[in-house]
Symmetry: C2
Subunit: 180 residues, 2 copies
């Protein structure tokens, strides 16, 4: 059995927390997640869940009362095992590795802009990040009353990283504004 992909792991993890949820709920949860990595498209989720059922990691229960054929998903024993293996891989450094950051990438090539455009770019990025930070902080408040402890921690991570990015951009802009 090959390891779970990131999306597969996220789906299995979601079902482990939301036992008995429908594929549709998995799908919308992925789509609403803050990270834009996965679209939560039906073309991704439904075939993926079928694959996991075929591999014996998921079990499905069809509600006969529902004409749409809505199914409820839960983990099998093998599914829980696969989830644990996905959560804690042999090589943890793959998880911790530097994430791809389109802003950081672009900064390397800002010499293609005039110094005025450069500063405008950094200022604009900074303001977008500040707005985003507000969103995550609001989300954090939400999670603090009503969310699980782990959801709070994950949201704190989003806040911490966004804040770090914003502050980094701010100091970069000030630095570049100084040196022209």
């Amino acid at each position: 059995m090959p390891d779970l992909s990131e999306l597969e792991g996220a789906v299995v993890g979601f079902i482990s927390v939301h036992d008995g949820c429908t594929p549709y709920q998995v799908r919308t949860a992925m789509a609403q997640s803050h990270t834009s990595r996965f679209s939560g498209s039906s073309g991704a989720i439904y075939p993926l869940i079928r694959r996991l059922v075929a591999r014996g990691l998921l079990a499905q229960e069809v509600r006969s009362t529902d004409g749409r054929g809505t199914r409820r998903c839960s983990l099998t024993k093998d599914g829980r095992k696969a989830l644990r293996a996905w959560l804690v891989p042999e090589d943890m450094s793959a998880l911790a590795g530097l994430a791809f950051d389109p802003l950081r990438t672009r900064i390397l090539f800002l010499s293609a802009l005039t110094s005025k455009q450069r500063l405008a770019f950094l200022a604009e990025a900074e303001s977008v990040l500040t707005e985003e930070l507000k969103v995550y902080l609001a989300d954090l408040t939400l999670k603090r009353n009503g969310g699980s402890e782990l959801e709070v921690i994950a949201t704190e991570g989003a806040v911490a990283i966004t804040r770090a990015r914003r502050n980094w951009l701010r100091s970069a802009r000030r630095h570049l504004a100084g040196t022209g």
Copy 2:
């Protein structure tokens, strides 16, 4: 003309900074980059560069003295234009959006582990991040003497974000250790 993809933009940006470089140099630079997003595989780079030449964004000069057919790449006027459009897209929020973080994703599902395993996971991740931080700090020193100003800023970003992640994990671990 469609917009440049992230990899295309990175390649065009690299060539803008390293004018006259060979596709091989582009490739190895991508492969050595800290972010694991792109492998820098020849199967990605060579066809990509050919596409960009066909689109008129890159120009190639073949050194006739070289039996390997090594080519030197540079940007055309259209290439510089496309680079600027890629650097500063209409929707800046797409650049600033929360990056995908496999650690953060996994934290949401740590309830599948025993509390002991959970703490071990966080401790291990924290130590990997601490090691990584050392690497980026060393790189920063390197860039400070000998690198461009923009390279220094980009590396400072890597340091800032890694540090934020590490500190976030540390406080999460301490918190979970407290509540059992």
